[in-house]
Subunit: 274 residues, 4 copies
């Protein structure tokens, strides 16, 4: 019985270090992990540069093995320290961690799989967990609440923009007649997106007078409707400002977040929120 107690205790402490960030050890773990992620991405980046690869490629290979070992240990600890490991495996962060881990092994066994290591960059998203320790907490919460409120409206906006690009791209395909880069409708829609978002690469640009006229309309539309998402978000920020509340911690059992401030039990797995 004492052994169960100790085991529970040991697991609880590990959970606190790995999943929570309000203890000293928890903060240290999170910061250390972020540094490991960040430096490992830098290594992958540098290794992708031909000239650097030829000089240090061998060293990078050994460094990569160290990172693989580190991240494997971290993943194992994550599985061990919670009561229901499968919940973590299929949680968004868990899936990202796995996607980031698999290419490390693939690159050992298969040649060419090395470039898949870039998916490790996805782990950068963990940076937003680290913020939760710092004084940025209030701002993060504030932005999260506002963005959640805006999400639906902004997706309607993006859908309208997409419909517009399909229509305007198709019109340009008719106008420029398969020439000047507008060789098919998907290509023309790509041009319409490049133009309406005001990116404007210039790799495809209208040549005929009519084409330039239509393009001018597309540009003015893009210039005017940029106001829509901005207006929506500003409005929702003002609304969110009146409804600020703290973001809850992760559940010690399943590792999932998003609990209400007054919750005593995890709403996903029912276990107590310590």
């Amino acid at each position: 019985m004492a052994s169960t107690e100790t085991k529970k205790d040991w697991r609880f402490k590990l959970h606190e270090i790995i999943y929570e960030s309000n203890t000293r050890a928890g903060k240290a773990f999170d910061v250390g992990l972020l540094i490991a992620i960040f430096t490992s991405i830098i290594v992958v980046m540098l290794d992708s540069v031909e000239s650097i690869h030829q000089q240090y490629g061998h060293t990078f290979k050994y460094v990569e093995w160290v990172y693989t070992a580190l991240f494997t240990i971290e993943y194992t600890l994550r599985l061990v320290s919670i009561k229901r490991p499968w919940k973590y495996v299929f949680s968004p962060l868990g899936i990202i961690d796995l996607i980031a881990l698999i290419p490390s092994y693939l690159s050992i066994f298969f040649i060419g799989a090395q470039s898949l290591l870039v998916f490790r960059a996805l782990r950068l998203l963990r940076v937003f967990r680290i913020f939760k320790l710092s004084r940025f907490l209030t701002e993060i919460n504030f932005l999260t609440v506002a963005l959640k409120g805006s999400l639906r409206k902004i997706s309607i906006f993006l859908l309208t923009v997409l419909s517009l690009t399909v229509i305007l791209g198709s019109v340009m395909y008719l106008v420029e007649q398969r020439e000047n880069g507008f060789s098919n409708i998907p290509e023309s829609i790509y041009w319409a997106i490049v133009t309406i978002t005001t990116v404007g690469y210039g790799d495809i640009a209208p040549v005929t007078a009519t084409g330039k006229f239509v393009a001018s309309i597309v540009m003015l539309i893009g210039y005017a409707i940029i106001a829509v998402p901005t207006g929506i978000l500003t409005h929702d920020l003002a609304t969110a400002a009146r409804q600020k509340k703290e973001l809850p911690e992760a559940c010690p059992t399943c590792g999932r977040e998003g609990h209400d401030g007054d919750a005593t039990f995890c709403k996903f797995c029912g276990s107590a929120l310590l």
Copy 2:
């Protein structure tokens, strides 16, 4: 008399399925229609790609006939199920439906008319009807009210931008002296629009020192005045937020929308709003 009753009943049910979206059948019809529109556009898109056309062009032709049949039946049902069909024919959505339908027939009889099929993309605008079934209703209404309020102010803004581009484009025509792509005033105005909207293709760019100086002013103007439509819309969203009200349904007789929430009769044709 019973027959008239039945006929009226039959027509009423059809109206509810095709024009309304608050019944189960109505929702199914709307979703099905949207899928048909969406897939038919994908087919037109793929068919425009030379390599795909050469392989599957024949199959696409048969698929196109199926779509033409489907949309013709849909159009006929729309005409049959309302009391005054001409009102639908000349309503905005009715005109779009007809424009989308005609090229299907033209492409059968005339070679080359096939590319006009892209106008079917206009039917994508129906997607906004479908939203009315979902929980997006409140957001759509909110945005519609705000955009209506901003329309006048944003058109004044666009008119100012257009006047500016005419003036600045003309100045650049003088400065760059028919060279470097500024070969005539309309071309220079096109450049001014590309620049002031911050699209910046780079197909026409100033080469002389004076030209670059004028261009810098145009860019800074464009960068600063983007604030205007955004400011307008944000302000109007805040105003709209205080005046939220539900958008009414379509009239069963003429199919037109835009009735006040408390309306009992259609304001366009006078028949009762069921």
Copy 3:
């Protein structure tokens, strides 16, 4: 004495037609003038296109003479119908009218001066007077009040952006070392403006790794600070919304605008506002 009365009366009526726009004749005059300005600009535009010039150049010359006559008569009537003509001549709109008129005469006597006709485009700014007749009045006033309030803040913003472009442009000149288009500091500053305003022609683009790094910082700055003018204007629109008031009419004596709503005498020339 009767003659003076009549003369005053005649001048007063002419003033009302030409300078005011709340009578029927005044509206007609303003609309007619705008059409004349608009079509005359279209003619100058078309004449600048080489191919059109070769075909219709001769016709355009005669049309140009008609416009010159029309605008000369208009300018004379403006001088005659107000008590102190010099006040009109040196008012902003008066200067624009003169600048737009002079090239018409220069182009008759000097070859090449024809291209100066583009300055007629400046008269397009009169379009904002015409709006005063329509229902756009409230919106115009609203925007004017808000923009006046934002002017100072937005000029501070533009000054900051300009300082930044000088500093960042200079840094890029050092980094890219006179190569890749960054041949001197003014050129590098032009690049910095193109980049920070997110226009991005691509005529000058960094090639070295360090250059690309600095450029990335410039882009992110430009992307983030676009928020500043927008935020300012949105805020001032909200302030202006609480202070809406009607814009006053033009003074019948000196033709200048900007009188307070409760003014009885012109604040520029002291004569009564009829």
Copy 4:
């Protein structure tokens, strides 16, 4: 004792002229300094243009010596007129002044160091001190307060954008497979920044269909999230509007700013704020 009094008096007056701007002499000094900075930058700029350098390079050398002398005198006076000179030397403005001064001497002794003169452009930031004399004071304070409040939120936003560009850039590196300019991951990240900020040089642009699809997503993300910093700032401007207060003057002892309006002693060095 009288001598000490006089010395203190003399130093106090000099401090008022050089560091403060609410006396006549102080304003004149600030304006004069700004003109000197501005013209000296123009000289460095013109000297960087090859053709101008060959003609006036010799004259510019002498002019440069005059500026070096002037700025050296100014720097010495700044050191002399405050009680604790080292505090000024290590203050932000003091460091900028030193960075701007050193290249003047380096360019005399070392060939090639001349191009470092561009760092003098940093002194342009002094322009914001000059505004404090004018009626722009209220606007500057207002913007400063709002920007300070937004700083944290906007840095979170920029960090998110950077994480996104690393992820999306890596994906594009995989998709376009070392071709079409996406030759390594840092290069691909540079492309992602160019695209997400809607700059769009077009020096690197996707060529494959998949690449164009991913690029379209990047553009739409960039177009939609531009709303975030704008929304944040607009919200904080509204908050700042309710908290307007005057910015305090510089400390006569250490020259540092940022004291509260009701402060009687400098919060950095403890000496009295006169």
